[in-house]
Symmetry: C2
Amino acid sequence: MFAKVLKTIKKYGMIDPGERVGVAVSGGSDSVALLTVLHDLVPRGGFSLVVVHVHHGLRGAESDRDADFVKTLADGLGLPLATGTIPPGTLSDGGGASLEDRARRERYRIFDEIGKLHGLTKMALGHTLDDQAETVLMKFLRGAGAAGLRGMLPVRDGFFIRPLLETTRREIQEFLDKRGILYVTDSTNEDDCYLRNRIRRRVLPELAELVNPNLAETLERTAEIFRDEEDWLKEMTNSAADRLGLRFDRVPVEIDLAKLRDCNRALQRRLIKLCLNSVPVGGPERGFEHVEAVLSLVEGDNPSGRLDLGGGLEARREYDRLVVGRRPEPDETTVGTSFSCVARCPGVTPIDAIARSLSLEMVDKAGAGTAGIAFMDMDTIDGLLTVRNVLPGDRIQPLGMKGHKKLKSLFIDAKVPRRLRCRIPLLADARSIIWVPGICLSERVRVRKETRAVMKAEIV
Amino acid sequence: MFAKVLKTIKKYGMIDPGERVGVAVSGGSDSVALLTVLHDLVPRGGFSLVVVHVHHGLRGAESDRDADFVKTLADGLGLPLATGTIPPGTLSDGGGASLEDRARRERYRIFDEIGKLHGLTKMALGHTLDDQAETVLMKFLRGAGAAGLRGMLPVRDGFFIRPLLETTRREIQEFLDKRGILYVTDSTNEDDCYLRNRIRRRVLPELAELVNPNLAETLERTAEIFRDEEDWLKEMTNSAADRLGLRFDRVPVEIDLAKLRDCNRALQRRLIKLCLNSVPVGGPERGFEHVEAVLSLVEGDNPSGRLDLGGGLEARREYDRLVVGRRPEPDETTVGTSFSCVARCPGVTPIDAIARSLSLEMVDKAGAGTAGIAFMDMDTIDGLLTVRNVLPGDRIQPLGMKGHKKLKSLFIDAKVPRRLRCRIPLLADARSIIWVPGICLSERVRVRKETRAVMKAEIV
């Protein structure tokens, strides 16, 4: 095991002589092995060590036992000990995986803090090859692209290092057994209500048995390949962004459509994703569906198409440009209720703001439309469906008409009182508004003789 | 389901008016659904159909039943039927997954043949979104990079098309049930001795339950992303190969080392892989381990390092170039037995040609070396270990010496008869020969005071 850890440290240039390295020690087998190996290396490596322990307060007496154990360990090796505590209140609400997540974030925050306080130049973490395999598999099964398949980085932000990342848990166990080194065990490791534990205890062993006995090593290798490829792709995306004149320091971000269309599809996806996630608005990071929806806006026929991406983020076409920015503030036409969400198809999407729901389903053939029900040709629908209220400038091509009409005029013609206009749930796809319930269906999505698949939309 | 299939056909431009499309029909639910949908589309699409069936002869009476069923189906739709038969002898040897593999290859060969015979411009295959998910998961678990994660292509070689690739098996089942369409079932689908069946019947349902209920859709999306990224990466690798002046039309392939070292790691990997797989020699496609071994040759200190990649393929450094080509024919010094294989570490590697084995294991500390046993510093070993017989020009830095010595001189000094020289198993890493059993250990891998991990090599 020693040789492997050394190889990893050398390969990634993890520790230079003269550094002051914190070692995160929970008291468990991995971190105790990490501390032992690094301590053995000190005379050769010319660096110094500080033992770092975070008291969790999540597991009561067990946490106190762990803290005592780590103190004894540090004293025995004659190393300084730096500790931090997660305040019990921080993690009190919520449970399950998200509790684990919050504990992790809090731990990293404390590591940063201790690092500054004690002048540490590196912080060594005890993640093993098996932890890496679990991470990569979990990300893959949840739909990560190359960025996710990189797994945990051997060196992150030039501060966190993971010297055990190419060593297996079995090698560590053998090393500890051979040297007769003691460690504590974490009772939550056996708890199958955590996804990671299920992956570790059930999924990985079974896949190793059924498909590939060297699965953990295979997955670490996959991570290594994708670390390098992702770096390369990022580099190329950034230089393409420069070439296209993208400016991420101001909102909205604008892209020349002709130049974007000249890029290959993979680069288009990455450029769009970069734009979407550079605008500081609410909501989680935008992923595949959002990027695909913007792509259909880019390729669609509507020169002033608009796409609501939730959380106040909007993509729209303005002549020869794609513009990604904040959704405009409602003007006097649309003041009042505001809502927007991606519609489940098929499925029911609640629209909380107006206490109604939108139901979408596939049916055999079109029936008669009513104020609350419309039938559309599935095949004409383009990209993501959203249900939202009216925005300034919204237009539709009404059934049987050649041209487009402003929704504002439609509302005026239909005598909808101004204060109610923003409560009407509009159905839109990536190209345009396709249905204004009670008022108008879009000519574009009309059910025709040759329609093969019909979607029924209903406000319920 | 109809709308989804149409969307897929349009998205990938699968069928143009005037085409003559073969539909591969096994008689199973997927292919019968595919035939039904395509037949419904004929009047709109302006193409024509030919039903294609391959008689397997693998499943006896069941195969005859399938063939009869498909004939009745084609007759009922008034479509021409083209059939091919896998000759029983073709698949007779071997079993398990490799039998399945050979059957698949043979099927594709027959599809090609029928295509030419009947003037088909496309051949439609019934692979579904679930088949795709199985393929992508299987490749991932076996260690595929971006190229493997593309899964099955919607359009391959401009001939094979997969219109059901975005439709789930469940949607197909519902479609068939609703229309009351009959199909046959394949009894081998239930046989868990095939890896794909285990993935389908056990692994995927369990992962869907434990991790991601939309796993199949997620994996098809992953495939879609990687299809585009892989195209991009290939394009860039090819243009880098041009820039570096690589010529794949002659052997050996040569790369300027300085230029290669200037490339980023991911590009280096892809260029090397391209070189390795462009030399027409024996053995399977060269993958990650081989590429890593060549990389360590590129980065190593030995200006005339040489790496045996099996099957007669060799990579070597010649001054400022990396040369990938055929292993030189043995000259009079080395005529006779020839062997070369990657050594398992730790593990036992049989060397069939001389009826011996090489055993490698980690030990606590070095013992006394003998003719058949040597101890080395794990940490000094570079890349892949191979065990092979001597090649013209092989050199070693003998223990305690500064310079290098030719193996030929060593053999002469040690009075090894010429006919036995090629029977001595040499241990080599990516940089040089490290052990000549009975004669000499390399100074480079000597166990020193500061050695932390010792490898014991033994000829048994």
